[in-house]
Symmetry: C2
Subunit: 258 residues, 2 copies
């Protein structure tokens, strides 16, 4: 039985409010992972809209919450036949920490109609080392196994801010597409390749969930196109074990030292 389900459980208290319990195991240092927060929020939003999946989740991050009890406040703005639009925010101690807009509906069930770039070819997971920084605990890696392509790690490497690797949840049960929201935010900051080490707070992250992943390893590639005024973009693409593109994201974050 996967720990991801229990760690993202939402309990409806009123029409617009869900109680949640942020699990300390899904954190980077002592801060819950941003993608994990989006997964919790999206679960509440989909429940409120009676929609099976999030299609597009736009999260704007204002403050980093702590693990423990929190609340998701949900407003279904429009209930549609194909897509419902939901505003949902994560609150703790009476203040909003993350605000989201979510378009929810049913993601692709059949084969892709068209696909472009194939999934990147990586050395097998056994040849990709696990990564954890020396003096900074990442509890998330108790739950998610992250193995980095040696061509993109260690850093700073060739000055190219690209990181590729394998990702899976350690105790996988039935694949849950909400896990893809964690996967798009699980890579170390690509700007490590530019020597910008340290905390890189996300201001905005939008994730698209394109298909339900097949069981097994996910492949993820994160890349940055520009650092300007301290801000950098980080785009993540996730493919499943069959090579299908299952999620995409881009975030805007602040590079360490800015």
């Amino acid at each position: 039985m996967s720990e991801f389900g229990p760690a993202t459980t939402v309990r409806r208290r009123t029409e617009g409010a869900y109680d949640v319990d942020l699990d300390p195991d899904w954190s980077i240092g002592d801060k819950p992972n941003g993608g994990y927060l989006l997964a919790v929020i999206a679960r509440a939003a989909c429940d409120a809209a009676a929609a099976p999946h999030p299609l597009a989740v736009s999260g704007h991050f204002m403050r980093a919450p702590v693990a423990g009890p929190a609340e998701v406040r949900v407003e279904v703005i429009r209930q549609g036949r194909r897509v419902s639009t939901v505003r949902a925010g994560l609150w703790q101690e009476g203040r909003p920490f993350v605000e989201t807009l979510i378009s929810a509906g049913a993601i692709a069930a059949g084969d892709p109609e068209w696909a472009g770039d194939p999934a990147p070819v990586l050395p097998p997971p056994a040849d990709c080392p696990e990564w954890e920084p020396p003096n900074f605990p990442i509890p998330l890696f108790r739950r998610m196994e992250l193995r980095l392509d040696p061509a993109t790690h260690p850093w700073p490497g060739n000055g190219n801010p690209v990181i590729r690797g394998w990702i899976r949840v350690r105790d996988e049960a039935e694949p849950d597409p909400l896990l893809l929201l964690v996967a798009v935010d699980a890579m170390p900051p690509t700007v490590f390749h530019l020597g910008r080490f340290g905390w890189a707070p996300t201001v905005e992250l939008t994730g698209l969930v394109r298909a339900v992943q097949a069981p097994g390893w996910l492949r993820c590639e994160a890349r940055t196109k520009a650092v300007e005024g301290g801000w950098f973009d980080e785009e993540a693409t996730v493919w499943d074990a069959t090579g299908r593109l299952v999620a995409q994201s881009r975030q805007l974050a602040l590079a360490a030292g800015s």
Copy 2:
């Protein structure tokens, strides 16, 4: 004097409400362009938050409004030193049409700290034809000049859903970074290259405004990575006349015939 400023003017009526007048000239057919709507909404949001620029604008589109009077309802969720977070929605006849979350602040003033891929090399604008479909008027092109790289047009071409071209506002005055939100949504749908002709409604579009553009032509590249269950992603990147990356976006839209 540019027409873009007057077409995106917002008039504050109360603390949380701005009157706007959607200009029919910024439309595709009879529907105001989605990027134009985001520019109008972002102008109100930045005014309410006393922030100079939008950094990240996430728009979720529920219905297509018509040109004419409308209202932007704004709530500043958090006023920050570096970033303010704003929720802003476009309303018409008492209903919401577009909801947004906007992180606003000051975009890069100096040179980029780091930049990856250079701007694409295109034939000069004079060698890139203007485009307008035969039986479908696009009033937007009265205001914006769009010249498509013959390597990426006409369609369906080589089956590769990439469209590149030059874009500028016809009556440019001082460059306005809000115009970049129009630029990221001005290209024809890339899925035309896959033979999916027709209206492709945007469900979600998030745009990052990375820098103030230099005067002159913008270069834009739009590309799609997958079509799944009728949904396609379209990523747009915009460079200014100096070759600087100034805006990025990704949208999720529904391909015609889905």
